[in-house]
Symmetry: C2
Subunit: 134 residues, 2 copies
């Protein structure tokens, strides 16, 4: 049965509950970060990054402000604030015919936000996943 | 008569001819850069930034790889290379009922690309427009 990808995604963020990720991500899912050129490959590491990003970005300031679709999935624009720094970004999401996400790419602006997200994501991944952010 | 905004935009990039910008931009157009938080307001400065961006980004490596639409306009993802650095970015475009662009926002990744684009845009704006990139 095809997942309603965006509905599950929004519900997950609303509930701050990443358990839905297991069913939402394809086995060969790839995470492409705003900071690093090389993609992170595989469902496990993609999930770790998305959970870390949820901790860093999805706070009381977080909101989606735009949603555009194409035949591959959707591009969602968000705004939030981290340590008093305004963060504006996009989630570029692609999903397969089952609705499972196989590529999740994030970009943020301005430069100050890229640096802040880089710092906080590194801390988050180190603290909870023993992953060193390359 | 309503402009076919994306058709005019793509034609302009293909021809490397920014003269179409005059008709394509609304008087109150705003440019929101990948680097700086504060928007640049007005058709004149927005045009200068877009022409500089065209010089910096639209070379033989430049191509659009994704196009997603919403009721406000479109989000276009591009890839290019500047001084040997891979640049991946999005143009978040909003246009009015006449098809004239009133908001043009750009984000790029990875971090190395943000820094490279910042440096090259600064040089380009200084050299050709007497604008100091804030």
């Amino acid at each position: 049965m095809k997942i309603d990808t965006l509905a599950v995604w929004h519900q997950m963020l609303e509930n701050r509950d990443p358990s839905a990720l297991d069913n939402l991500l394809a086995e060969d899912a790839v995470l492409i970060s705003p900071v690093v050129h090389t993609p992170q490959r595989g469902k496990a590491i993609t999930g770790k990054y998305l959970i870390a990003a949820m901790h860093v970005l999805v706070n009381e300031h977080f909101r989606y402000v735009r949603e555009a679709g194409d035949e591959q999935g959707a591009i969602l624009e968000f705004e939030t604030e981290v340590d008093g720094i305004s963060v504006n970004g996009v989630d570029l999401i692609k999903w397969n015919e089952d609705g499972q996400i196989y590529e999740f790419k994030v970009m943020v602006r301005p430069l100050q936000a890229v640096n802040k997200v880089h710092q906080k994501m590194g801390e988050q991944l180190m603290a909870h996943n023993d992953v060193v952010l390359s």
